[in-house]
Symmetry: none
Subunit: 226 residues, 4 copies
């Protein structure tokens, strides 16, 4: 392996280790020693690649950003009808999440991590940008649907917001379950239902979408005390 390859490999290994640890422990608790060990490098080596803990965090956070950005836009253009395009967006989103769950987790973490004050400006912007784009792509599909008469006149920005809120919340809840090692259910069908339900409210022809049938009586998710 060439020197450059090795370098790239090291960088990747560090990022992988860092992602795992940041994912599990959050920025504050995450321990550089552990990352180094997981990455199979010395602690000092981390600092050859990243200037500081925060810088490494940024790198982890923004790692897939561009790829995601591009694919998301593509997804927004696929589908015969506006409804289909919105479903396509949802589908892509959850597929991507399935493949890179921690990447997402970390995006959320930023919002909620109390450390935010210490995070460099550009992370916060990346995340804001991430949401901005999601909203824009979704809104474009909704507005298009209104224009073509597929949807009734409505506040398309608000609908977009609602759709993302639900996606956000589902994933967040799944993450929480993961952390707590609770059994999780597949999210995609859940979200597909949710999307359909919400969109149904603005469809000119609601019959295009079938509502989900009543689900099983929900069991408590209360974690029993050990």
């Amino acid at each position: 392996m060439s020197r450059d390859q090795k370098k790239a490999e090291s960088r990747r290994r560090i990022l992988d280790a860092a992602r795992a640890v940041f994912f599990r422990d959050g920025f504050m608790r995450a321990n550089l020693d552990e990352m180094a060990e997981k990455a199979g490098v010395a602690k000092g080596t981390l600092y050859r690649y990243f200037e500081s803990k925060a810088d490494l965090y940024v790198a982890v956070l923004t790692n897939n950003h561009e790829i995601f950005h591009e694919q998301m836009s593509t997804a927004g253009g696929q589908g015969e009808s506006a409804l289909e395009r919105i479903r396509s967006i949802a589908k892509f989103y959850f597929a991507h999440w399935l493949e890179h769950p921690d990447y997402f987790q970390i995006f959320w973490a930023v919002d909620n991590e109390s450390v935010i004050g210490d995070l460099p400006r550009d992370v916060i912007e990346k995340v804001a940008d991430f949401w901005e784009m999601n909203l824009n792509v979704t809104h474009a599909a909704l507005a298009d649907g209104v224009k073509t008469g597929e949807f009734v006149e409505c506040d398309t920005w608000e609908i977009a917001h609602i759709l993302w809120s639900v996606a956000d919340s589902l994933i967040e809840s799944d993450n929480t379950k993961a952390r707590r090692q609770i059994r999780r259910r597949p999210l995609e069908p859940l979200y597909t239902h949710a999307v359909d339900t919400i969109i149904r409210g603005i469809l000119v022809d609601p019959s295009r979408v079938a509502l989900a049938p009543p689900s099983e009586p929900r069991k408590s998710t209360l974690i029993p005390v050990k």
Copy 2:
């Protein structure tokens, strides 16, 4: 003031100080020194009232719990129709949040705080319980609406989940804006719209709810680089 009153007073002052600091800094960054100073007691005194930092956190988290619990149930019963009851729940929820924003903040914090592993089991359960109850109250209203023919047959648990996701997301986003000192818009009307939109999808008579008109073209919230 009697000795017992003094003790109660101390306890309250500590809780108040702790809530403020935990709210602002999160569990990890929160500093017991500052809490003690804010509460006007010595640091050691904290340990006469609470066993540990985590224990104090628990106390803060669960402080208003019972009150909230009770009021929420009441709200779920108020209203002529199922639609009204759901609106009443939303209304109460946001009113309570307006009054005790940090109490809520802290609930969310738990979900997102990466420290969760260290939090005592019963905090996690309290929070889960909190959600459980929210869902149950909402679900009860929805199921009732289905039974009385106000709503179409649908997955009422899922709808409940969607409704809470959106509420959750709105508040979370407001918190984020608060932290970043971005101008915020009143949440209640936003959520009322959202509730109406969502419920509209399952109303037997959708005309009962007017959709919001198209809103202003949304301005970017991207934070400009300084």
Copy 3:
């Protein structure tokens, strides 16, 4: 021993330990672990008394400052003639140095320590102030001597500067010898001679001061290679 006494005692022990270590190793190399151990306290305890390493350094540096300041002024006023007053200053200076050699060492260290950029502004000012005062006191005596006709007209500031340069240099050289564990000679007579020699050049009546007789042929101080 009362709590306050203990505290004062701790503070003193820390300062003593810190002075010793800073004296021996300089700011950069000085090790807080060692200071703590020498002081018989835990490392964290240092931070109860001083905010940082630099702060502790400042404390050490400025510890005796006021006392010295006052005594120096007193010394400048003692003596029948200007010549006597200048001798009195020199005498006091070296006496003080004998008693608190590391205090002086540290003052010099500041000038030469390459860390200066990192030292807080007030240390630098304290040291500048220290020199300022030395010069002023000496200059006052010289100017007085000129006025009373004891000294010829001359640049009294320059003479003051020369006198302090020599004192400075003698002590510095003694410190160096101390560090290198070379045998040292008593400084006071050396400096008394030097003062006399220098003053002799401006005395209206040079015969008042006897020059030192030729000294032993000086032996090399070259340190033999081991």
Copy 4:
């Protein structure tokens, strides 16, 4: 360029870079990374030319030594009278200092650098040797002056020491001002005055030397608090 030339060139570039950095930061803080970059070589290359940081320091310190040594001796021999020779020494010294201020700086640094314990024996000796020589050259001129009846009988070693103390102190003070970015005055005239004043005290015919006239009332050099 031949291979040997290249090597010499590299060595020189490294020494230049090292001198600049050591001069600015002192031994401890000086950073090999920066030196390598300034020299335009890789970090590892430093180790092909010098065994260690300390070794590089030694090389820097002793770089001009021989040249200086020789020129100093020459200067000591120039002048009609002993007085003139002493003035010649002073003149050369300050001229050399003007041209190679960092070379001097570094010599002083050794004395004061608290790292001295770690410096190899031979640096310390080089520096001691440097002073030894200065003293010897000066003493020779003084002793000669005594022999020829130009100076009165006196402790010529002590006078030599005084003369060097003052030179030392003037340069040191100039360095300090440079570091603190305070306006500096030309040193040579200052030292010439000082030499004259000191020598005047041992001149058989003091009228050969005019004392400096009273200077401007000295302004405080206290650095005002920002």
